[in-house]
Subunit: 254 residues, 2 copies
DNA sequence: ACCGGTTATTGATCTCGATCAATGTCCCTT
DNA sequence: AAGGGACATTGATCGAGATCAATAACCGGT
């Protein structure tokens, strides 16, 4: 049984640049003329190798940088007054983290590595200066913000537990696909508990839904290994064809 | 019993300018040096007088303009496949509408006037050019987007019906307050049904919650007239002190 | 290989808000 | 002033998911 996820592979940890990053097209410099990418790369710093549970930033820390996932997976969450985690987003390679803090100038979410990985740090002041020269950077930032906004509003929709889980799984599949990885078979980067928290469900319900989906021969989760058996019927369970991706193009609603 | 809402007053309908707009500080030009406001005002056009039920824009229309509420109130909504309205936001004077369409270049929500009012139309291409000269416009746009993002994520939180209604009422009160109107006594600009739709509840539940709040001597709704009797106890019902405002500063969570 | 803590699974019961139903109120039109 | 359609209120019942509880599987560390 395959145990390692391709995307978890961080064996070659030498610093890399945006120029040869596999997910640049999804990331902040994605709209730049290739000739302008080195100028952008110059302001980017890579973090140390991060391990499961390491924080990228915490709530109330002053906002100084935007971050992008270089390798690995991250989760954003808040902690309520009873000490319970509430996951607000999962972040895949190439996705930008921290844009929510533009107005308040303090991060509003904790952001934590789900496994071994690395992030890119983009000092916002330098980004802002650069975006005045390269307006494509501004356009991309606007894109990211407005996509996240639409996605956030839709994830507030009143869905059944089955629809929620189906939509999340479809979104994860899409995100693997747009990064060039297998989209019908993959390791879940996050725990069942994190999934439940993200979807405002309890872990018991997520577990039951997985059992149901297996009985329906749509999707099997064994250990953390997911196999999508029937992508079409999975898609039918997702209302509006809105998947919980961060950058996939937003579909129209009827 | 007072029947007209101050903010509904559109008796003097001559075109006005940003320079003497009472809610400019909340709006797109809010961060501009006063000397630069006329340059911004030059690209702004006011709509005709709009009446209850008039559309400002519809889903799938090409995105050409940002809009701002000049007078009156607006709601944004989608229509699901069963023809049911799903309200996604209410907009008060000075608030900017349409920013969600930056990425897709088509509006993703219907936006409709709730009563007699008027909106400002800001052609986005001209705004974009101007923002390259006045970076404060860009900063404000970022602010608006990131605030909406945080608000949208929180409105996805798992609240009880009581918490939802309390949070909305507190948000409305705050929004009246920051516009200089009475914040403890006002006319509800939207129907109970719209409130229910916004909060993913049914109108029956909203009605029952209002009855409960009256019995608790926290808040009375008679006809559309709201009187807040105990602001402190209302605030206690709002988790995280996050109110559903568009521009009020986002509070920290514990 | 063995533990100890975290995480997943499965079942029984409970609860909040939805649904169904009936009546009442408001407001716009004529 | 009358009538009609949308909107609001209140009660009775229902159901999806939470909660409570118990067991099992997994994982990291020594």
């Amino acid at each position: 049984m395959p145990r390692q996820n391709h995307t978890n592979n961080v064996s070659r940890l030498k610093p890399r640049s945006c120029e040869d990053c596999a997910v640049r097209h999804l990331c902040l410099p994605g709209l730049l003329d290739p000739a302008d990418v080195p100028a952008f790369n110059k302001i980017v710093k890579r973090t140390d190798v991060l391990h499961r549970g390491d924080y990228l930033y915490r709530v109330d820390e002053p906002f100084t940088d935007l971050f992008a996932v270089f390798t690995g997976f991250f989760k954003a969450f808040v902690v309520d007054r009873h000490g319970r985690e509430q996951v607000t987003a999962f972040h895949f390679p190439g996705e930008v983290m921290g844009v929510h803090a533009l107005a308040t100038r303090t991060y509003q979410y904790h952001t934590m590595s789900l496994n071994t990985g690395m992030a890119c740090r983009i000092p916002f002041d330098e980004f802002r200066d650069l975006s005045h020269k390269f307006h494509k950077l501004d356009d991309r930032l606007h894109d990211i913000l407005s996509r996240e906004l639409i996605r956030a509003r839709f994830s507030a929709a009143n869905l059944t537990a089955l629809q929620k889980v189906a939509t999340l799984m479809m979104g994860i599949s899409r995100r693997f696909e747009e990064r060039g990885y297998a989209s019908r078979e993959f390791l879940l980067p996050m725990s069942n508990t994190d999934i439940a928290s993200r979807l405002r469900l309890v872990p018991e319900t997520v577990s039951r839904i997985f059992t149901r989906l297996a009985k329906m021969k749509i999707l099997v989760v064994e250990d953390r290994h997911v196999t999508i058996l029937d992508m079409d019927r999975l898609a039918v369970l997702c209302p509006h064809n809105i998947y919980l991706t961060d950058y996939h193009s937003v579909k129209k609603q009827a």
